[in-house]
């Protein structure tokens, strides 16, 4: 039995090795801890086959789920953040951006594209949470604005997939005004009579909730997603009490009347395509 007793004390794994296992064959669900084959997990739209936990996925995965045969044309692929305020906190903002680009391979927190979905052309903007918490700065605002312009010019429906902690502080006033800019473009989209579907995923909070995420003709969400204006920590500090269970979950938001429906990611493409056909 001495095999199983750790004799050496103080063995520690460096953090960078701990964080994420390399892309392997097996996926362990962070919610129910059960293990499944990564291919099975992917085929299941990155939801757990055991407990239906919806893994936080990025634009790559959503595009492959939604566009027919993963065929799409990306818009404004090269757009990147500037540093209009020469912002420095504990790090310089451009350094932070550069490091994140290196780490994620993404240019900013949103990617926009158009392509066929069930043989109908659609424009999709999808946020990436692992780019500085999916925060909305000038690039996010501008790319969404131009994607809406594309949708208007080409008469396609627009689908926005939000996953964000809110506005990007390092662009201060500029990021605040992206809420206004995106809302202005959505007003134009409305005038053009084109459908706007807003999909809220885990988490969607702050300035994103208080602008484009809540402005859909159809506001829909993934099960269990955290959706709110203020984050749970801020609310807890304000009221000085613990929050009720399930507070700010997609189910809670649906119950209070701010969502049209909750959609399982495995049914997302079918249901959105069906909805768009119904109103065509």
């Amino acid at each position: 039995m001495s095999w199983f007793i750790r004799k050496d004390k103080g063995i520690q794994t460096p953090t960078e090795l701990k964080r994420e296992a390399p892309d392997g064959l097996w996926y362990q669900c962070p919610s129910c801890k059960q293990v499944m084959h990564t291919r099975e997990h992917k085929l299941n739209a990155y939801t757990c086959v055991h407990c239906n936990y919806h893994e936080k996925i990025g634009s790559d995965a959503y595009f492959s789920i939604l566009f027919d045969d993963n065929q799409f044309t990306e818009l404004d692929e090269k757009m990147m953040s500037a540093d209009p305020l020469s912002f420095t906190d504990t790090k310089k903002y451009p350094d932070r951006v550069r490091a994140t680009i290196g780490k994620t391979g993404l240019r900013d927190a949103v990617r926009t594209a158009h392509g066929p979905m069930e043989e109908t052309e659609i424009t999709i903007a999808c946020m990436d949470f692992n780019f500085i918490g999916g925060s909305m700065g000038s690039v996010v605002g501008e790319k969404i604005a131009r994607a809406i312009d594309y949708a208007i010019a080409n008469r396609t429906p627009f689908l926005m997939i939000s996953r964000s902690g809110g506005a990007r502080m390092m662009e201060a006033g500029f990021s605040l005004m992206q809420m206004a800019k995106t809302s202005a473009k959505l007003a134009r989209l409305s005038e053009a009579g084109l459908p706007y579907i807003s999909l809220l995923t885990d988490p969607t909070t702050g300035g994103v909730t208080a602008s484009y995420a809540m402005l859909g003709d159809f506001n829909i969400a993934e099960p269990g997603a955290l959706i709110g204006f203020a984050g749970p920590r801020v609310i807890r500090e304000t009221i000085g009490k613990d929050l009720p269970k399930g507070f700010q979950s997609a189910e809670f938001v649906l119950e209070h009347g701010f969502l049209d429906f909750i959609v399982d990611r495995k049914d997302l493409k079918d249901k959105v395509a069906c909805l768009l056909k119904l109103i065509k």
Binding site: D76, P84, D89, A172, L176, K181, A213, L215, V234, I239
Partner: protein, 317 residues
């Protein structure tokens, strides 16, 4: 009793001395008018000097000065008539957001703004100027009504943020603000928005989509308060001055970035120093701006309003 900020201490000292001198002169029946005049002049000089080189954090402090005029103070001083209108027609009336039809120099306007309280009881009643969703919905209801009767809209912004409470979330704080942003872009009547104190984030923006967005000289307008920015980025409350510098949140900054359209001067010593003069300046500004905006057609105004906000943002391609 006047309240002095820490950087106003030298003024407070001199004014204390002036009061003392006047009192002594009174009791001893001595003529000190010459000395009083000299002292008054040096106080004036000192005030000019102090207010010429304010740091960003000092302006943040001034924007929250407890003696600063609030929305209802301006309405009372600028308008000849005011009929306050209450309620969002769904949940309740939100005392943190006030509004109604008013007459200013013979013209009818719809005037709406966040309202703070002067003492503890009032502050609680006004929820420290932090509106709930029904506040934003009331504001939108009044704006739509102004549009119906073809009256211009003036909004006064002064909030530390939309209220981050449990009920606010239940009733859709995010949705309420988002809807205002979208709907305000399509209003057919002129819309003037003026930051008169604090302009914190979405809670401020929710009534700040206008043909002209102006800021009083000693106010701030940004995505988050310096304190909260410090807490998140530096993980401590203590870097608020640095955060204020980094965010470049003053009227001068925001105008130079073209994120707002202009600055409204305050009397030397700040808006709180002379409410009457401040209200006069603001009234003139509103009237001049209305004349400019009335020269445009509703379609021109809407197009320009949308184009202006869509041009905001800096990216690299």
């Amino acid at each position: 009793m006047r309240t002095y900020l820490d950087f106003e201490k030298p003024i407070a000292d001199l004014e204390g001395r002036l009061d003392e001198m006047k009192r002594l002169a009174e009791t001893n029946k001595v003529d000190v008018s010459e000395a009083v005049e000299t002292l008054e002049k040096s106080i004036d000089r000192l005030r000019h000097e102090l207010f010429r080189n304010l740091t960003r954090w000092q302006r943040v402090q001034l924007s929250r000065h407890p003696d600063r005029p609030y929305t209802l103070d301006y309405i009372e001083r600028m308008c000849d008539q005011f009929i306050e209108l209450h309620g969002d027609r769904t949940v309740r009336d939100d005392p943190a957001m006030v509004g109604g039809f008013a007459e200013i120099d013979g013209q009818t306007i719809m005037i709406i703004g966040q309202q703070k309280g002067r003492n503890t009881k009032q502050r609680q009643h006004r929820n420290f100027g932090m509106p709930n969703p029904e506040g934003y919905r009331k504001a939108l209801r009044l704006m739509k009504m102004a549009e119906k009767f073809n009256k211009p809209i003036v909004t006064l912004i002064d909030t530390p943020g939309a209220f981050p409470g449990l009920e606010a979330e239940e009733r859709g704080q995010g949705e309420a603000i988002a809807r205002n942003l979208k709907e305000m872009f399509l209003l057919k009547v002129p819309v003037i928005c003026i930051v008169i104190g604090e302009g914190a984030s979405g809670g401020a923006l929710g009534i700040a989509i206008g043909d002209r967005v102006l800021m009083l000289e000693n106010t701030w307008y940004s995505v988050i308060s310096p304190e909260n920015c410090s807490t998140i980025l530096w993980r401590s409350w203590n870097y608020k001055e640095q955060a204020a510098e980094a965010m470049k949140l003053t009227a001068t900054d925001m105008t130079s970035f073209k994120l707002v359209d202009g600055i409204v001067d305050e009397p030397v010593g700040g808006a709180h120093y002379d409410h009457a003069e401040m209200a006069n300046i603001l009234k003139r500004t509103i009237l001049d701006t209305l004349t400019e905006l009335n020269a445009l057609s509703p379609e021109e105004r809407i197009d320009q309003r949308i184009d202006k906000f869509c041009a905001m943002g800096v990216v690299v391609e």
